[in-house]
């Protein structure tokens, strides 16, 4: 048990290191120095107040999406639909913020609730189909992503401002304050207080998963569905709950842009942040703390790509992110096998290990 934590953290670190080495080869291939490019990336994304703020801003939706994917993973479910859930969450928040007339202290909570509700209901379609018909959630969540895009394209068109692909601005009461109000050091960056909400939810998720009965049931379901059923866990209900909660988390991820930054919904605003939630959860090993660290890493990478664009194409970071995913799953599989091989065989020695 003492050895498990460092080993669990070692594999993702190894994957990131390998990806950076492979990325370095790519940088060298276009005639640039990998050390200079990486140095520039780190100094710009973390070294200045504005850069750090941009990193935190990029990190926010990744954190929501990462928590969403991690929660579903813990229950043995793969949520590939965080992108669509986040997209609809942002859309719902924008609609409530722009069209609902309510006194100021009520409007923001309602807009947040709308985002969570939209994400949760959209994810629940996949949850119900899984629980009732055993339909595989991976394909269904991918399909739901595309349907969400089509729905918003169809409906949004009537709402968008003339000659734009955005809705009108949300009321001031629905806007979330920027972080630089509290931390002047981040001056001018779009990081906002939805990040604090994400961090709170990360703590909440940790408590839920590891300190409550329902969280325990979800984890048992993820580790061993047979054992969960034998122990009396109502599988269908647990799966539905996991998907609804995961969807709510992803849906809230849309509020960073919509309520905290631009103050309107814009077509394609998620820009793959929901998909990246898979990578975030993967590198964070589905643990809330790991997810926070991993979201920070991917956030720095997302902003860092923009600053190194002068030297190498910004798509370097997209390649890096993909390589991190591929190296991570490969190293996890290999590490797991090595651990299995080196484990003392309890039966043979005749003594408990």
């Amino acid at each position: 048990m003492k050895l498990r934590v460092p080993l669990a953290a070692l594999a993702p670190v190894a994957a990131v290191a390998l990806a950076l080495v492979a990325g370095g080869v790519l940088i060298a291939a276009v005639g640039q120095s990998p050390f200079e490019v990486y140095g520039l990336l780190v100094s710009q994304a973390l070294g200045t107040g504005y850069g750090a703020g941009q990193t935190l801003f990029k990190c926010t939706p990744l954190l929501f999406a990462g928590l969403s994917v991690a929660l579903a993973f813990r229950a043995g479910l793969f949520n590939v639909g965080a992108e669509g859930q986040m997209y609809l969450g942002g859309f719902a928040a924008a609609l409530v913020g722009a069209y609902v007339r309510l006194p100021a202290p009520l409007l923001l909570p309602l807009a947040l609730l709308a985002a969570a509700g939209a994400g949760a209901s959209w994810a629940s379609i996949a949850g119900v189909l899984k629980a009732r018909f055993g339909a595989h959630e991976v394909i269904n969540t991918i399909m739901l992503n595309f349907i969400a895009f089509a729905l918003v394209a169809w409906w949004g068109h009537r709402l968008f401002m003339p000659a734009t692909v955005r809705t009108r601005e949300v009321a001031a009461a629905a806007q979330v304050a920027r972080l630089d109000v509290v931390l002047p050091w981040l001056k001018g960056s779009p990081a906002n207080l939805t990040l604090a909400l994400a961090l709170l939810l990360a703590v909440g998720l940790g408590v839920f998963l590891f300190r409550t009965r329902i969280g325990y049931e979800l984890r048992v379901l993820g580790l061993n569905p047979g054992a969960a059923e034998y122990a009396g866990v109502r599988i269908g209900r647990a799966q539905g709950l996991a998907f609804a909660l995961a969807g709510a988390l992803a849906g809230l991820g849309g509020t960073s842009f919509v309520l905290g930054y631009k103050h309107w919904f814009e077509q394609d605003f998620t820009a793959g942040a929901g998909f990246m939630g898979i990578a975030v959860a993967l590198i964070g090993r589905n643990h809330p703390l790991g997810v926070c660290l991993s979201a920070l890493f991917f956030g720095a990478l997302a902003y860092g790509g923009l600053v190194v664009n002068q030297r190498v194409p910004a798509d370097l970071v997209n390649v890096l992110r993909a390589l991190v995913i591929l190296f991570a799953i490969s190293s996890y599989a290999v590490f797991e096998r090595v651990a299995k091989l080196t484990q003392p065989k309890a039966g043979k020695a005749g003594k408990p290990a």
């Binding site: 790519l26 276009v30 793969f78 590939v80 189909l129 009732r132 018909f133 339909a135 595989h136 991976v138 394909i139 269904n140 991918i142 399909m143 739901l144 595309f146 349907i147 089509a150 729905l151 394209a153 169809w154 068109h157 998909f275 898979i278 990578a279 993967l282 194409p313 798509d315 370097l316 970071v317 997209n318 390649v319 890096l320 992110r321 993909a322 390589l323 995913i325 591929l326 799953i329 490969s330 996890y332 599989a333 290999v334 096998r337």
Partner: protein, 304 residues
């Protein structure tokens, strides 16, 4: 509607269906062996770029087609390496490969052609000399296109390969119960890799078609076609011919959507139809779509 309008609609449908059918037939081969092929989008995207690079540097569309197939197989080879050799999660690998292709193709586009949106114009595949048939209204230009004929030939060929040859039987056995294949002395890893590589080759043709039709590479030009092909494969119940039929249906929906653009009909909603149909098929409303039993499970020779 006049006869010509009908013919034009049919031709448009077939044109849209070609890449779907090729990729979906490929995915049926890969998944029948037990490996989830969510990376179709990435296979196609890399191949489309390889076609353009081949045509640009080698000045020969047929060599460019070869480059595209090779790129499809190389990308598929990476998927096989990760999922079969390292036994990593197949779904995540597919998603990773799609991200990799999206980033890498744009990286190369910027580096080689100094544009983040599109490559310069390159030659498409030449028209076939089919004589008077070329004068057929609407369908003539389609029949002149080599990849259309290739797609029409490859779909039944893939069906035959999966259901009528010893290789196909072994491949399907590996996808259903790899332990049984192994007990027969077959190489589970070899068969699965072969299925994935075939999928890469067929997706390579699909990617080449996209680039050849547009005479250039544009950023993200596959536009979700890989996912539509996966959906069609599911609706077609992991059967190359069934998948191609579903592709025709999806192609017709897309052609209708283009034809109805600007009319009062909410054509944007038609976009969602293939995805909704796929979900219904998965839930068992349109005949049960049952995947190969060992699909998605890495094969562990030491395991039970």
């Amino acid at each position: 509607m006049s006869l010509l309008a009908v013919l034009l609609f049919v031709a448009a449908t077939l044109r849209i269906t070609v890449p779907y059918a090729l990729a979906a037939a490929g995915a049926s081969l890969g998944e029948r062996g037990g490996v989830v092929c969510l990376g179709l989008e990435g296979f196609m995207l890399n191949s489309a770029l390889a076609y353009v690079l081949g045509a640009w540097y080698l000045h020969d569309p047929w060599l460019a087609l070869g480059c595209a197939v090779l790129a499809g197989m190389l990308t598929a080879g990476l998927h096989a390496l990760v999922t079969v050799a390292f036994r990593a999660d197949q779904i995540t690998s597919g998603i990773g490969i799609n991200l990799l292709a999206a980033g890498l193709t744009r990286f190369v586009l910027v580096t080689v052609f100094h544009s983040s949106s599109n490559s310069p114009r390159v030659a498409g595949l030449p028209e076939l000399p089919i004589g008077p048939l070329a004068h057929l209204p609407a369908l003539g230009p389609l029949l002149e296109t080599p990849l259309v004929l290739l797609a029409v030939a490859l779909v039944p060929l893939s069906t035959w390969l999966v259901f009528r040859t010893p290789f196909g039987l072994r491949l399907r056995a590996t996808g259903e119960l790899p332990q049984a294949s192994a007990a027969l002395g077959l190489s589970v890893g070899g068969l699965r890799t072969a299925g994935v590589l075939l999928c890469g080759a067929l997706s390579g043709l699909a990617g080449a078609w996209l680039a050849s039709e547009q005479h250039c590479f544009t950023d993200g030009m596959t536009g979700g076609r890989g996912y539509i092909a996966i959906a069609a494969m599911i609706v077609g119940k992991w059967h190359p011919a069934g998948a191609a039929t579903a592709c025709l249906l999806f192609g017709a929906t897309e052609a209708a959507q283009i034809a109805l653009q600007g009319s009062a009909f909410p054509s944007a909603l038609l976009q969602a139809l293939p995805y909704a149909v796929t979900m219904l098929a998965l839930a068992g409303f349109i005949g049960r779509a049952t995947p190969p039993r060992a699909l998605g499970t890495p094969y562990d020779p030491e395991g039970t």
